[in-house]
């Protein structure tokens, strides 16, 4: 109930400032020259002081990328991206010491404030006493500037640091697992990421350890024309558990910004990872001008028996979303879950869903997708559920619900289902409904305003998924959904 009130307040508070995150901070950047060639890849690698094998890996990715073609099978329309017209490296000029937050550029802290970096995370960043234990690895334009709680995590043997540092401190782990879930040439965007990724998070949870706090990362895109190429690698060793939260905002821009992140999750026997995302990057103006292009590859490899992975995503931002967090269920009795809320408004286009690849015996998966389209947007759920011959007794349940608000939006559901063993049991349910005038009137006749009514009805529609999010994220996500749909009725 409180959350609904929060939603309502959020809607009211944001009246007239649709996208509060639209601003630009002025921090000196150190750019690599525009465009992409092997020298730029070398520049990035050198900037980070990487070992030779890493540079070779990047260069191989670059060579492969040149051979690949940009995919066009998604239900997305956008002008051709000129990959030579982008910067591939930008970082705050000063290296900031991690042990003292006082040394963090006040502009950066101010940026977090403006972003409303939610809730207590800011306190955590600011080192406020009694702040909740959420570890934040903040990514500000490609380079992590602050990592908190690292020492405390280290007591349990948990490693949580920028991947650029992990390359220096734990090269054996990075080398063993990087690209083992999403191979270098997996797809066009992942391949590009492999060549030029700037930074990202690295997490390792040792055997039997339950990570004592939720890990959290905030991504931002700030430098003009800088594509963001984050790389995240999380390894949950045998019998370990971790919950990872990722939330993003970006400043307003006139030119489209490219984002091609890769997230790899590795799960060994009996390991469990919960990965939650709230994404509200700038979606562009009402005509779709200036929004983020978001081409993301996220995949979990349940290579251990009885391992369990859960993706939860709330996607409200970006002009273009191309994203299919997937689960490769290799281990026997492993399971994968995908819970998604995708909201599109204005001219936004989203083509998102998941892949559940059942390889092991008795593997289970569950997909709950809630798509909401408003304005003149297009929202596509694209999912693949497949059972290989050895995946005896594989089970999947899929539920895909679409909600349409207004007359000019579109919702599409594209499920692919393949079972190569007769013992697989797949269920698929799908509904498409329109937010009805009668429901709206019913709410209004009880005293709720139009925006309040929409927020209430939409929150009801996405409730199953919101409940899967960690508490503090759920509240934020609920606000976001309401704000994203502001003005979509009446």
């Amino acid at each position: 109930m409180a959350a609904v009130r929060e939603t309502v307040r959020a809607v009211e508070a944001l009246e007239g400032e649709k996208y509060a995150h639209g601003f630009i901070t002025t921090i000196e950047q150190e750019f690599a020259p525009k465009g992409l060639d092997a020298d730029i890849v070398r520049f990035i690698s050198a900037k980070k002081g990487e070992p030779q094998w890493m540079l070779d890996w990047r260069l191989e990715a670059y060579e492969r990328w040149l051979q690949l073609e940009e995919p066009n099978w998604a239900k997305l329309g956008y002008p051709k991206i000129d990959y030579q017209d982008l910067f591939y490296y930008a970082a705050p000029k000063e290296k900031i010491e991690l042990d003292s937050l006082d040394q963090v550029d006040p502009e950066i802290l101010a940026t977090y404030k403006k972003l409303g970096i939610p809730l207590r995370e800011q306190e955590v960043l600011a080192g406020v006493k009694g702040a909740p234990r959420v570890a934040v690895d903040a990514v500000f334009d490609s380079v992590s500037v602050a990592t908190t709680f690292r020492a405390e995590l280290a007591k349990d043997g948990v490693i949580f640091m920028p991947i650029s540092e992990a390359l220096k401190e734990h090269p054996e782990l990075v080398r063993q697992y990087l690209g083992s879930v999403v191979p270098v040439s997996d797809n066009y965007f992942a391949c590009l990421n492999s060549a030029v990724f700037s930074d990202g998070s690295f997490v390792y949870i040792p055997p039997g350890v339950r990570c004592p706090m939720e890990l959290s990362t905030y991504f931002r895109i700030n430098a003009q024309n800088t594509g963001q190429f984050e790389r995240t690698l999380i390894i949950a060793d045998k019998g370990s558990y971790v919950s990872y939260l990722e939330g993003c905002t970006a400043p307003m821009r006139d030119e489209n910004q490219l984002h091609a992140a890769v997230v790899e999750l590795v799960l060994l026997d009996d390991a469990e990872i919960k990965y939650s995302t709230v994404q509200n990057w700038y979606p562009g103006d009402s005509e779709g001008k200036g929004g983020i292009y978001n081409f993301v590859t996220k995949r979990a490899d349940c290579r251990g028996d009885r391992s369990k992975v859960s993706w939860t995503q709330v996607e409200t931002g970006s002009a273009i979303t191309w994203k299919y967090p997937s689960c490769v269920l290799k281990g026997n009795d492993s399971s994968g879950e995908f819970y998604s809320i995708a909201v599109t408004n204005g001219r936004q286009q989203a083509d998102t869903g998941t892949k559940m690849i059942h390889l092991g015996e008795r593997t289970k998966s569950r997909i709950i997708s809630k798509g909401i389209s408003a304005g003149r947007s297009s929202n596509t759920y694209r999912g693949l559920v497949t059972a290989h011959a050895k995946a005896k007794g594989a089970r999947n349940f899929t539920q895909c619900d679409s909600l349409l608000i207004g007359k000019d939006c579109a919702a599409h559901t594209v499920p692919y289902i393949e079972a190569k063993t007769p013992s697989a049991n797949f269920e698929h349910e799908a509904t498409t409904t329109r937010l009805s005038d009668d429901q709206l009137f019913y709410c209004q006749s009880r005293g709720l305003g139009v925006e309040e009514s929409v927020a209430l009805l939409v929150n009801g529609f996405v409730r199953d998924v919101l409940q899967k999010l960690p508490m503090e994220f759920a509240v934020e996500a609920q606000k976001l959904v309401a704000v994203s749909l502001e003005g979509s009725v009446g």
Binding site: M1, V4, R5, V8, S436, D437, D438, Q439, F441, Y442, C443, Q444, S445, R446, G447, L448, G449, V450, E452, L456, L457, N459, G460, F461, V462, R463, D464
Partner: protein, 250 residues
């Protein structure tokens, strides 16, 4: 004192005029019944009073305690104390009745510049209302009206009414879809809310409901106008003779 005052009300839906100069006064504390055949405009009257979109008032006035209702949107009218008990209550998946009600109560309070109702008071009121309507309190934790029977939905309407404490209530075909037991429970719920500062408009086809909710006045609506008014005996007359002579009169 007159609470609801409707004068020469004309309402169109699309190109079709449904109410054609309806006039009606309901004094404070009174319960008036509006009866009429199918297509007479009964539901149009309730929707037009509650402020549903698509019901266009082309002429006439409607006021509540002297305040112009037609100038307000649906939520504004609710805040002024108008409550419509729907003939077909809507289902709101994923929104528990308790959430819905608390949001509604506090939206109305806010519109009136009053303090929000706190959680303890709210839950206490909700429990009491559920008990008096013989509803399982757990039903209020489920999606509003989702999977409810017709009778349960009507009880939920009355529960909402009890909790929102409106000044002016429109009961639109509240008896439809109710068995005898449910009809009695719902009627008792309505009767419990009769008060000197609350008026009700009971819209119905059948006299049956008026055995339980005794009206002070009965009006016959036919072809978009009130064509006859009288005491409770008028309802009995209608039950016996049908609407024929009024339809001819219209």
């Amino acid at each position: 004192m007159t609470m609801l005052s409707i004068s020469n009300l004309h309402v169109s839906v699309g190109e079709t005029e449904i109410l054609k100069g309806l006039s009606l006064d309901v004094p404070a504390g009174e319960v008036h019944a509006v009866m009429g055949p199918n297509g007479a405009g009964k539901s149009t009257l309730s929707y037009a009073l509650a402020g549903k979109g698509g019901y266009e008032v082309t002429q006439g006035t409607a006021s509540l305690n002297g305040e112009d209702l037609l100038a307000l949107d649906a939520s504004g009218r609710a805040a002024k104390g108008v409550f419509l008990s729907f003939q077909y209550p809507l289902e709101i998946p994923g929104v528990p009745a308790l959430t819905f009600l608390r949001t509604a109560i506090n939206a109305q309070r806010k519109a009136r510049g009053e303090a929000e109702m706190g959680a303890p008071e709210f839950l206490k009121t909700a429990r009491a209302a559920a008990t008096s309507l013989k509803m399982d309190f757990d039903m209020l934790k489920r999606g509003l009206n989702v999977g409810f029977s017709g009778g349960e939905k009507k009880r939920m309407e009355i529960l909402q009414m009890a909790m929102l404490a409106p000044r002016f209530v429109i009961l639109d075909e509240t008896d439809s879809g109710l068995d005898i037991d449910a009809l009695r429970i719902v009627s008792e719920g309505v009767n419990a809310l009769r008060a000197p500062d609350r008026s009700m408009l009971v819209i119905t086809h059948y006299q049956r409901l008026l055995d339980y909710i005794k009206p002070d006045r009965v009006h016959v609506l036919s072809a978009g106008r009130i064509v006859a008014s009288g005491g409770p005996e008028l309802a009995l007359e209608l039950e016996r003779d049908g609407y024929d002579k009024f339809q001819r009169a219209a």
